[in-house]
């Protein structure tokens, strides 16, 4: 052991000095480099992990929202289609009904027109008859006046008037 110490000049003072040297290195590296660097890296890692998680969540949320949007849109489309179909059906029914009503009204109007026309016609014919009779009477009177045959004329006028 002594020869080892003598050969290699093993000196406990230098050993202690080297221990102190290493202690300083360890303390300085730990305080100024390793600890802050590790903290920074961990924070960054957490931030990145959070960012990735958030991005995933956002993507999922977007996907979900898109699905909901599509569902709502499809539903709205289906409802609109149904409503449109119902409306169309109602409108068709209404149209048919209105057409029927119009037809009926037209029929009624035509019938009443015909009636009015008939009555007007009858009235006109009556009036025309009366006109004709009066004209005939006037014409007969005039003819009779010219012939001076009073007895016959009066008789004729009476016959005509009775007509």
């Amino acid at each position: 052991m002594d020869s080892l110490i003598t050969t290699f000049h093993i000196d406990w003072k230098i050993i202690i000095a080297q221990v102190i040297n290493f202690g300083i290195v360890f303390a300085v590296l730990y305080m100024f480099a390793l600890k802050p660097l590790k903290k920074l890296m961990t924070e960054r890692e957490e931030k990145i992990a959070k960012g990735v998680t958030d991005a995933k969540e956002n993507a999922e949320m977007i996907e979900k929202t898109r699905k909901e949007y599509d569902e709502v849109l499809n539903k709205a489309r289906a409802e609109a289609h149904t409503i449109f179909q119902e409306g169309k059906r109602d409108a068709d029914a209404k149209k048919a009904e209105m057409l029927e009503d119009a037809k009926n009204e037209v029929g009624v109007m035509i019938a009443s027109g015909k009636k009015t026309l008939e009555s007007e016609k009858a009235k006109i014919i009556e009036e025309a008859k009366k006109e004709i009779v009066s004209l005939v009477v006037l014409a007969t009177e005039k003819v009779l006046k010219d012939n001076d045959n009073t007895g016959v004329n009066e008789k004729t006028v009476k016959q005509i008037n009775n007509m």
Binding site: F8, H9, N21, L29, L34, L37, L40
Partner: protein, 303 residues
Amino acid sequence: METTSSEINTNQVEIDLGQQAEVETKPVHEATLYAEPIYHIGSFAITNALFTSWIAVFLIIIIAISLRRKLKEIPKGIQNFFEIILEGAFSLCDQVTGSRTITTKVFPLAISVFFFILINNWLGILPFGGFGLVEKGGAESVFIPFIRSGTADINTTLALSLMAVVGANIFGIISIGLWKTFNKYVNLKALAGIITKIRREPTVLVVAPVTFFVGVLELIGEFAKIASLSFRLFGNVFAGEVLLLSMSALLAYGLPIPFLFLEIFVGLIQAFIFSILVLVYFTIASQDHDEHDEHEEPAHAMT
């Protein structure tokens, strides 16, 4: 040719002066096994290896402080470089320890050992070997360089090994407790097992003394660890310095260059090996040997 003629002239002058004049000889640089003292403070000798270690400490402080100042969320330059090293080293430590908890605790020490040894190793191969002092001792004077690898001195490597082994055992005490750590070396539990298990397992009479002896071997192994760690590092770095010196002596220009590269690599590898071994010792110290026995015992009892 000129050198030869000047040497002849010098010899002629020496002959002419005869015995009256002292022979002027070139200072000799010997590769000594030990670090040479360059200054004395009382009885404390400051060796060139210790001086180099101080330079290493100073450099590490400068690097650490400049790194601390330049720390930013988005890494750049020196921070980027250290982050890459740190991340790689951390995952490597994880592989060695097999536990994130142990890695987190031991990593700062292992990386500090790595940088301390690395800078010390590399400082020794810097071309500052010409700076030193000449010590006259008798007929010939000796050249003592100011710079010698810190790890080319057994005192440095011994200090590091002692710290590693003692530190590992302290870590073991903290991790698994004083009693279990003590029982690793002086296995009283095994001896006590003779009394408690002799009826159930008569083989314990053979097993327990062997187990106790294994504990004693473990204790011897701790000293072997100190020796192996310190002498491996010292031997490699010192051999490198001797190799460079020999090559320079053979041909100062060009020839040492490949060996300089070799020494850069050796310095890196040795720092790496030492720090990995520190990590391994700490990991072993933090593991409880009895856990395996307790797990194995029920199966053994079944048979």
